[in-house]
Amino acid sequence: MPERHQSAAAGAAPVPGARAPWRGTVAVVGGTVVDETGSRRADVVARDGRVVAVGPGLDVPAGATVLDAGGCLVAPGLVDLHTHLRQPGAEEAETVETGSRAAALGGFTAVVAMPNTDPPVDSAAVALEILSLGAAALCRVAVAGAITVGRAGERLAPMGELAALGVRLFTDDGAGVQDGGLMRRALDYARGLGVTLAQHCEDRAIAAGGVMHEGNWSARLGLPGMPAAAEEAMVARDLALVAATGARVHFLHLSCARSLGLVAAARAAGLPVTAEVAPHHLSLTDAELAAYDPLFKVNPPLRGAPDVAAVRRACAEGTVDAVATDHAPHAPHTKQAPMDEAPPGMLGLQTAWPVTLGALHRGEPDLGEGDGDAPGGIRAMAVAEVVGLLSWRPARIAGLHPSAGGDQGGPVVDGAAANLCVLDPAERWTVDAARLASRSTNSPWHGRTLTGAVRHTVVAGEPVVIDGEAQR
C-alpha cells in the first residue's frame, strides 16, 4: 500500500477509468457564457474534447454539430458531489449507465458516486469496478471511498489504497461516524493523505430511529421524529475535531439552521470546512409527509419552513459551498411500504437545476406558513451564483477542478476541457417520474411544474444531450 500511495502523491499513475476524448466538433451558438470569471455573450467551439474558440459571432466550422443556446446560459458542466449510482449491488434501482444518463440530462458532466454500494467502496477492487463502468458512462464518474470498513464505523478503510486510485472524498454516507475517537483518527490519517472526509451528520442515539423531522408534523402524524439536534450535535463534534487535527471536513446535506450557524462561525474562525445542501432541503418541508407517502422520506429529513428558509439564507450568505443532489434511487416496491420500512431517499439529478434556481433566485416555492423565522429578507441570488453552487464550487471540493489538475468547473476558455452545459432558466416543464432516465421513479417532483431546463450537455467534447434528449 505505501508504494501505491506514493505513486499517487507523485501524480504518476494514470487515472483509472479515464475516458478517451470524443472525436468531433461542436459549436454552441447564441448563448451567454457564465463561469467563475464572469459572464459574456459568446459562442463556444470545441474540437476533440477541448475548447478551441470562445467569442461572439464565431464562424461555425464545417461538419460541426451546432447546439442552439439562444436565451440560455453556457456554463462549465454541473458537478454533483453526492450521487447514489447503486452499482454494484442494487442494479434494480440504478446503474452507472442509467444514473449517468440522468446526470447528463440534468446538466451534470461529473458526479461523485457515493460508497454505500453492496459491497461498499472500502477496497480498490470495488472502486475500480465503478471507475471502469464510468469510462463508458454519459458523464465522468468519480468515486468517494468509505471512511470505515463496511461503513460499520469500527475500523478505518484502506484510504491510502483508494487515494492511489484518485479518490479524494471519503464518507460513510448514510451513516455518520458515531465514534468520536475513530473520527479523530480518520481525520489525522486523511490529513496525511491530503484527502477530505465528508460527514453525514447524524448522532444515531439522538436520532433514535426517527423516520421524519421531529416537530409539529411528527407529533401530529404520530411518526417517530429525528430532532435537528441529531445533526447539530455531530456538526459541533466534528468542528471540534477539525480544530484539533487541522484536517479538512466537508459536511454533506446540511438541513438545519443551527448546523449552518455552526459552520458559518467555524469558517469565520478559519477552519478548513465546506458544506453542501440538497435541492429538496431548499424547497420542501415536513408538511409533505402529511399523506404518509414514503416518497418524501429522506435522510436528513425534510424540515420545517424556518429551517428551509435558513438553508436558503446560508446559500445567499456564502456559508454553503455547493448544492448536491443526494440522488437516491429506490425501486418502486421498496418505497411502497410502511413509513418505518421504506428506505430514505429521493431522485434529484434531473430536477436539481430548476429546483435550485427556483429556491435561490426566485424564492420559490413560497414558504408562507413559516412559523417564527420568516423566509422574507433572504437575498435573491444571481443566476450565475446559482450556477456556481452547482458547477465550479463543487468541482473544487471534489478535487476535479483544473486548479487541482482536473477537468471540471474551470473557466470556458481556449484549451479548456470541453465539459459544458447549456441551461435554460425560463423553460417550464412538468415532471413525469416515469419519463426520467433513472431506473427508479421516486421523484418528489412528479406531477409538479418546474421552471428551468437543461437544453444540452457536452462531456469531454461529446454532445451527450441535445435539446433535452440523451444521445445514447
Binding site: 421531529e214 407529533a219 416496491h333 411500504a337
Partner: protein, 316 residues
C-alpha cells in the same frame, strides 16, 4: 378523527345506540351486511380490538377473514402491498387495519378500492377507540341525569373537563381522543412526565399540558388513564414503574381527590398497580367494561356506515 368532526361523531353515536339495543336481544344479530366480507389485517398483537371488530362484523352478518404477518405470506417476504392486493382480489369489501407504523391504513386505502377502517396505527390514531370513549361518556352523563343516552345529543360534552394521563407521546388513543373530545366541546388537559409528552403540541386542541396530576384532579370530570407502554422501552422514558406510579398512577388516595361525579376511563389493557391501583379499577365510577361493551356497538355503526344500505333496515 379530525376529518369526522362533531357532526360525524354525533352520527356514529346515534347509530351505535341502535346497535346497543341489538346487543341486548336474545339473538344479537341482524342481516344488515349479509354477503359482505370484512378482512381484519392486524400486524400488531391485539386481542380486544380484533375480537371487538370481528364480533361487530358477525353481528351484522358479514363474513370475516383474518390475517396477520406471522400467519401469512408477509412472514415469507411478500410486501404488505402485495398481500393487501392479493386479499382484495379475493373479494373483500372492507379492511380493518392495525399496524405498528403510523399511516399504514391510509396507505392501504390507496392500494385498494375497498373501504379501510383504522384499527390503530402506530402512535397516530385509534379512531374507533375515541368513538367508543365518547359513547361511554355520553351514556354515563345521560344516566346521571336520569335520561337514556339515545335521547341525548352531544351537548353534555360542552365544557366537560377531561384529563388524559400517561404516555401521551406514544399513544394513538390520546391523539384520537383529544381530537374527538375537543370537537365535541370538551376541555382536554394532558398530564405526563416531560419525556412522555409529544415533542410539539402545536395544532393540538388541548387546554393545558402539565406534569402535576394532583393539581388537576379536583377540576376533572373525566379522568382518562393511558397504559404505560412498557414494550416501547419504558426504562428509556421514566426511571422506573415505581417512580411513574408515584407521580402519575391513579392511587386510591388520588382517586379521592377527584370530584364525586368524576368518571374514570382506561382503553385497556389495564396494568393494575402501575397506572391504576387495583381498588380504583374496581370502583363503580370506573367504566372500563362499559367501554368494551360500547366498542362492539360503535364498530357495528362504523362498519354499517361504510358498507351498509342507505337506510338502517327496519329490523336492525
Amino acid at each position: 378523527m379530525q376529518d369526522l368532526g362533531a357532526d360525524g361523531i354525533a352520527a356514529v353515536l346515534r347509530l351505535s345506540d341502535r346497535f346497543v339495543e341489538v346487543a341486548q336481544r336474545a339473538i344479537p344479530k341482524v342481516p344488515a351486511l349479509r354477503g359482505r366480507t370484512v378482512a381484519t389485517l392486524f400486524s400488531e398483537t391485539s386481542t380486544r380490538t380484533r375480537l371487538s371488530f370481528e364480533t361487530a362484523a358477525r353481528r351484522l352478518s358479514a363474513d370475516v377473514v383474518s390475517f396477520s404477518p406471522t400467519g401469512s405470506s408477509i412472514a415469507k417476504g411478500e410486501s404488505l402491498r402485495d398481500t393487501v392486493e392479493t386479499v382484495a382480489a379475493m373479494g373483500v369489501d372492507c379492511f380493518v387495519v392495525r399496524h405498528a407504523c403510523a399511516g399504514v391504513p391510509a396507505q392501504v386505502a390507496g392500494w385498494t378500492g375497498a373501504s379501510v377502517v383504522n384499527a390503530g396505527d402506530g402512535w397516530h390514531e385509534h379512531p374507533t377507540q375515541a368513538l367508543l370513549d365518547c359513547a361511554t361518556i355520553r351514556q354515563v352523563l345521560a344516566e346521571r341525569d336520569g335520561r337514556r343516552a339515545e335521547d341525548t345529543g352531544t351537548e353534555a360534552f360542552a365544557g366537560l373537563r377531561v384529563t388524559i394521563v400517561g404516555d401521551v407521546a406514544h399513544s394513538r388513543v390520546a391523539r384520537s381522543d383529544v381530537h374527538a373530545l375537543a370537537a365535541l366541546g370538551a376541555s382536554v388537559t394532558l398530564v405526563a412526565p416531560g419525556s412522555l409528552l409529544p415533542p410539539s403540541l402545536a395544532g393540538w386542541p388541548v387546554a393545558a399540558a402539565t406534569s402535576d396530576l394532583d393539581a388537576v384532579l379536583p377540576d376533572t370530570d373525566v379522568c382518562y388513564l393511558l397504559r404505560l407502554q412498557t414494550e416501547r422501552g419504558a426504562g428509556a422514558f421514566v426511571p422506573s414503574l415505581r417512580e411513574y406510579t408515584a407521580g402519575f398512577g391513579l392511587t386510591a388516595r388520588r382517586a379521592d381527590r377527584l370530584p364525586e361525579h368524576a368518571v374514570i376511563l382506561h382503553p385497556g389493557p389495564m396494568v393494575r398497580g402501575v397506572e391504576i391501583a387495583a381498588e380504583v379499577a374496581d370502583l363503580p365510577r370506573t367504566a372500563v367494561l362499559r367501554q368494551v361493551a360500547n366498542g362492539v356497538a360503535v364498530r357495528m355503526a362504523v362498519l354499517f356506515l361504510l358498507l351498509g344500505a342507505e337506510e338502517v333496515p327496519a329490523d336492525a
